[in-house]
Amino acid sequence: MIETIRSQFPILSRHVHGDKPLVYLDSAATTQKPQAVLDAMARFYMTSNANAHRGGHALGAEATALYEAARRSVAGFLNAGSDEVVFTHGATESMNLLSASIERTYGAALQGRCVVISEMEHHANIVPWQVLCQRTGAVLKVIRVCDDGSLDMEHAHELIDETCAIVSIVHMSNVLGTVNEVATLCSWARQVNAISIVDGCQYVVHHHVNVQDIDCDAYVFGGHKLYGPFGIGVLYGRSEFLGMLEPYQTGGAMIDKVTFAKTTYAEPPIRFEAGTPNIEGAIGLGAAITWLTSNDRRAIAAHETLVADLIVDALASNDRVRILGGDHARNGIISIVVDGIHAHDIGTLLDEQGVAVRTGHHCAMPLMQRFGIQAALRASVAAYTTQEDAMRFLDAFHRSCRMLS
């Protein structure tokens, strides 16, 4: 199965630094794109390119139909309604939209209220809330992460109290691989009438998501980590929630009626899509979802775990190696710290051997501080990652460590 999947990714057969076959283990930063996605985007430009929701002509109608079909694909993927799916430029914009629109809607009422996030959040789920707090007088509260990489649920329950206005938590950590009990967190949020938001960027890549089961007010992810193109993201918002929110950006498309005296806005999701949308991106994302769901996702997840296990088990016997998320890394995101060796040094030597990993703070500086480190090396797997990739990574990793010791 994996060889069939892999053969659909043209880039994976290339070489780097001359003759080194590419070993791509940076899928948590962005996944490679299958041929089906590349074809869908090229086909749009070759056959149907026009602006959506505007042109009263054949191409305009086709572009609109393709764009809205992509929205339905996303809705089906999440078990949501089409009117609950907003296209954005990425997960970061989805979070900024939420932060800005919530501030515009509730404003001064947020003063003294709490926004609860966790220590394992990506900067995109930290900074927008810091800004909201600065502007409204709300207070940011942070759920602790335990030494084993799991979320301290007792602490979470303590923080999600009557003063809490917003809970925004990552579904799967981009550093630790930890999968959080978001349905529980969202139910606690609901009990205190707080808005519940889930950052699903990493989780959607590996597992089926049903927003009805999670019962969150909002769920966000980006397209490029989900085998889709750059520049497209999703904000799912429960219809009653989106319906209450003030717009984020304003301008074309998102209006109902404009006069110089007053403007009324369109209903969601268009209310939140000012200007010409990324039509090509939405079509590419729709194609990525169609491609992904045409495969056996459970089998892919099992395979990804198998590959991650290979790496985690091989490194477990090495005293100098620490895996930040412990066993959570087996979910496919393996962040490694080597005693006495800087992650950047290993990353540089891995690159020379054709192995692509991410090194640095992974846009999670507070989490790095939590674990008392400056940087980590992250190997991450996707559907197309093979056991051979894992073995070649381990070889190159050990060779790099020897050179640096």
Binding site: H342, H344, D345, T348, Q374, A375, M403, L404
Partner: protein, 140 residues
């Protein structure tokens, strides 16, 4: 040797090491040749901005000669810094300012460094040249 001659010599030495493994082994070895960095200068003021890893660069002008202390928490970066010390440390500020050779390009480092790493190297060279410029403008 002039700066230009030193750069040529280093370029020749690196070119004689065509294999990536030999080249990095040499750069890693160079990192160990650096004198210990003075702890009192391990401060924000002497950090080089624009590097992914932490790099410190501290200038000392002694009898018209500019010396640098340098360090990094990453060994390869520290090795590259050591390489730059061979080129720039112990020169007059005027000589450093006058030299316009693209060091990264001449040493063929660009093709072996990621963009981030190349930017880091460029930041180090820029900082060295800025210190040299500042000292060259000081009244004797």
């Amino acid at each position: 040797m002039t700066i230009a001659e030193t750069i040529e010599e280093l370029a020749g030495m690196l070119a004689a090491l065509p294999d990536w493994e030999d080249r990095y082994t040499e750069i890693i070895a160079m990192s160990r040749s650096l004198a210990p960095y003075p702890e009192e200068h391990r401060t924000e003021q002497f950090k080089v901005k624009g590097c992914q890893s932490q790099v410190w660069l501290h200038p000392r002008l002694e009898n018209g000669v500019l010396w640098f202390d340098t360090d990094s928490d990453a060994v390869i970066v520290k090795g590259l810094a050591a390489l730059l010390m061979k080129i720039y440390s112990g020169r007059s500020p005027v000589e450093i300012v006058a030299c316009n050779i693209d060091v990264a390009e001449r040493l063929s480092l660009q093709q072996h460094l990621s963009t981030n790493r190349a930017n880091g190297l460029a930041s180090m060279i820029k900082q060295i040249r800025l210190y040299a410029l500042a000292y060259s403008l000081m009244k004797p």
